[in-house]
């Protein structure tokens, strides 16, 4: 299930597949209610943000992204994500007006960013660390029961690759012995 909904994968917890809330955790120890679709930590203002975008627009049921906890010092990942949602990126792939040190989006097309801006409502709870308050905001989002946002948008999919097992020493030719790297180890009898 997880791979279908979140094809890039990553360090996150998938909960209710048709939940409408995703939660990005900044500097905070907090477990959201299991009624959310997905939650996980946001660390970096470049690849970290890209993964959140890819793993939310791939599930059209997700309509809210709640950011909570203290922003990451130096990276300012939470504030950079809000800037991306508001302003997009410039011709240099830099998030416009992002406060982070290196807020560059290199793995997503502009279309994916536009989809993120249209599909998700970002709820800015940066600085908020009280569980009761965050739970209440999440519950309020869920109560709104927003409609599903069309078809999934798959920005990146990890495609399993067939691997050839060459770990044995059987002769592929009666007089040639091949090693595990496929190199000729011995010729002749």
């Amino acid at each position: 299930m997880t791979d279908d909904y979140y094809p890039w994968g990553g360090e996150f917890t998938a909960c209710e597949p048709q939940g409408c809330v995703a939660v990005a955790l900044l500097n905070i120890q907090y477990n959201p209610p299991k009624s959310v679709a997905i939650y996980g930590s946001l660390k970096t203002e470049n690849i970290g943000i890209e993964k959140i975008i890819a793993n939310t627009i791939s599930n059209p049921w997700v309509r809210f992204l709640v950011l909570c906890g203290d922003d990451i010092r130096g990276h300012r990942s939470g504030s950079s994500l809000i800037a991306l949602h508001k302003n997009g990126i410039d011709h240099n792939h830099r998030i416009i007006h992002a406060p982070g040190a290196i807020p560059y989006i290199e793995n997503l097309k502009e279309e994916a960013i536009k989809r993120f801006q249209a599909q998700l409502n970002v709820i800015d709870l940066i600085g908020e660390k009280q569980k009761e308050k965050i739970d209440a905001v999440i519950a309020e989002c869920i109560r709104k029961t927003p409609p599903v946002f069309g078809e999934p948008y798959i920005a990146i999919r990890l495609k399993p690759q067939a691997t050839v097992n060459l770990t044995d020493n059987r002769a592929l030719h009666s007089r040639i012995l091949i090693d595990y790297l496929g190199k000729i180890k011995k010729r002749g009898a």
Binding site: G9, G10, E11, I47, I102, E106, I156
Partner: protein, 108 residues
């Protein structure tokens, strides 16, 4: 009388500011309850500084040795200290995976 003298070199950790970043790219290692995942990125430079990476390949497994061998085949030409760093980190990741503990990727 000594037939041969062999250099005995005392180990010294390279301090962080002297670490040379690999021009071939970098890796992100993550551990979840199913596997260890390694993503390989090529560097993205802006003003001669590495600011991000483009995802090139991803690897999954549960053993450091299998991941190390596979990465060495699929990502050739890294700096030697980068391969050694990967080996160390993957061993830590395997330990975290087996003991179901949180893994945080360390620096070089």
């Amino acid at each position: 009388m000594v037939d041969r003298e062999i250099p005995l070199i005392k180990a010294k950790k390279t301090i962080e500011k002297d670490v040379i970043l690999d021009p071939q790219g970098f890796f992100i290692i993550e551990v979840d309850n199913k596997s260890i995942r390694v993503e390989y990125y090529s560097n993205v430079y802006k003003n001669k500084q590495i600011v991000s990476g483009v995802l090139q390949k991803a690897f999954t497994g549960i053993k450091a040795d299998a991941l190390s061998d596979t990465i060495a085949v699929h990502v050739p030409s890294l700096r030697p200290e980068h391969y050694l760093y990967l080996g160390r980190e993957l061993q830590k990741a395997q330990l975290a995976f087996e003991q179901q503990k949180k893994y945080i990727q360390g620096g070089c």
